[in-house]
């Protein structure tokens, strides 16, 4: 191959190599929308919510639609601000790159604040996902220390189980037995029949079960919590402008009962019981 052809080929391939990075810039330049700072506000009145679509009840796939408590909240926020909601399912591992590059406006998806306080600009928590202990009303178990030597059941792969095997390992080890069950339905049946002494469970799910069984007099939730995690809406660090607007709308929605109304649609999933403000 002579040098001239080689040179032309080199140009073609180099052009292709830079195309990957340059094309977006070019599109943007042609559209006249380029700026060198990440957008601090949502452009064109679209509000792009990044979420993990494998996290019911907060965000998940139902038929060909993405639905969930968080997405319903986001939808209402958009409606009140005249924004168009874009539901963007993302790879959870790429959430920071997505947010920082502005390809999504926020992460709104049962997003735990605890431990991430300084990494995002947060809304106020709207869900308090507490892990609690349910016992029989006539039980002599009144606090977590009374669980020593008792049989405690929890659902496999649940937050409560993770807490009892992780941060609250000492507590978990003080039990006579930490027994995993396939679902909480079994747990409550065991509790009622005396096969176990207590059930460790998310507060929302606990309330859902207690209410749906009409057994408010039969069971009580201990005041002590095993652990607690708060959910908030995460914005890019420094994007207070958009956060404030969303927060303001959320506050209004809490105040006029809209949040509770939306949560009621997820009663079976225990969402109402987890709301920070009732």
């Amino acid at each position: 191959m002579n040098k001239k052809i080689g040179f032309i080929l080199a140009l073609v391939v180099i052009a292709f190599l830079v195309m990957g990075t340059a094309s977006a810039g070019l599109f943007d330049f042609l559209g006249g929308g380029s700026n060198n700072s990440a957008r601090v506000n949502n452009d064109n009145n679209t509000f792009i919510v990044g979420f993990d679509a494998e996290f019911p009840p907060y965000g998940y796939k139902n038929g060909s639609e993405y639905v969930g408590f968080d997405l319903d909240l986001a939808q209402e926020v958009c409606k009140r601000n005249n924004w168009t909601l874009v539901k963007q399912p993302i790879d959870w591992d790429a959430k920071d790159a997505e947010l920082n590059s502005g390809s999504i406006d926020c992460i709104w998806n049962g997003f735990t604040i605890n431990g991430r306080e300084k990494s995002y600009t947060w809304s106020e928590p709207y869900i308090d996902n507490k892990q609690v202990v349910v016992v029989k009303a006539d039980s002599n178990i009144k606090s977590l220390s009374d669980l020593k030597g008792k049989i405690v059941e929890t659902q496999k792969d649940s937050s409560a189980l993770h807490a009892l095997q992780g941060d609250n390992k000492t507590l978990g080890e003080s039990f006579g037995k930490l027994q995993e069950v396939a679902d909480y339905n079994t747990g409550f049946m065991d509790l009622e029949s005396g096969a176990c002494d207590a059930v460790a469970i998310d507060i929302g799910v606990a309330e859902h079960n207690i209410h749906s069984r009409n057994s408010t007099t039969k069971f009580v939730i201990l005041n002590d919590t095993i652990s607690s995690e708060k959910y908030g809406v995460g914005f890019k660090l420094g994007n207070t402008q958009l956060r404030d607007q969303v927060q303001k709308t959320l506050d209004e929605m809490f105040a006029d009962g809209t949040v509770a109304k939306i949560a009621a649609n997820y009663t079976n999933d225990g969402v109402p019981g987890s709301l920070v403000r009732k």
Partner: protein, 216 residues
């Protein structure tokens, strides 16, 4: 969920996967040939650039390349990323990656052709372009089809990587359905889809292989 509705939901993801698959082949097969030429060029700087290019593309995860191509414009130039760019980035990253693999396959095939074939063609008066397309390339095809088949089948499965930049291809849709249904049925159905897709690919490639197999 009924199997029928599950299949129709998976179908959306399947179409995305097929689009990625076809567009990647459309761009990477010819681009690979250009890179192979560059890699074999007597012009040293070009040869070195291509060598480095192939080395990087084969030596780093495709998932990382997807992330770099999609997020790179923002981190390097501060560009706002348009939602449409997600799919474009997938095609660019896949094409660039697969072109590197195809380039090495082409190179192996081209270098396996004896020098005498070029000489015979030259003596008969074929131009360089005629020589390549009439004499060399058909022989290269016969040599490389099995290796290309391997890559193409890998590509079918690799399409699932594109969710790293939020393109919901079939496997992602299957995982979402599985999470919503608390059942792995959707994943099994997706597995069947991939398998059928690959059986189809293998069938087409076997036909091609037969067509170019002048030795049997």
């Amino acid at each position: 969920m009924m199997l029928g509705s599950m299949v129709s939901l998976l179908m959306e993801g399947m179409i995305t996967s097929i689009e990625i698959f076809l567009l990647t082949l459309l761009f990477s097969l010819p681009l690979g040939l250009l890179i192979a030429f560059g890699r074999m060029s007597k012009f040293t700087p070009l040869r070195l650039i291509m060598k480095v290019y192939i080395s990087i593309m084969r030596g780093t995860p495709l998932m990382l390349q997807l992330i770099v191509v999609f997020f790179g414009p923002y981190y390097i130039f501060g560009t706002t990323l348009s939602p449409d760019y997600r799919f474009i980035a997938v095609i660019i990253a896949f094409s660039m990656n697969y072109a590197a693999y195809f380039a090495e396959i082409y190179r192996g095939g081209i270098e396996a052709i004896p020098k005498g074939q070029y000489e015979a063609a030259q003596v008969l008066g074929y131009s360089k372009i005629q020589t390549f397309f009439i004499i060399i390339l058909p022989q290269v095809f016969r040599i490389i089809i099995p290796s290309v088949t391997n890559e193409v089948i890998t590509l079918v499965k690799d399409t699932s990587l594109s969710f790293v930049i939020a393109i919901p291809e079939m496997f992602t849709v299957a995982k979402q359905i599985a999470a919503a249904e608390s059942s792995i049925a959707a994943l099994i159905v997706a597995g069947v889809f991939y398998y059928v897709f690959n059986v189809l690919v293998a069938f087409v490639m076997a036909r091609l292989e037969k067509r170019y197999d002048y030795l049997n």
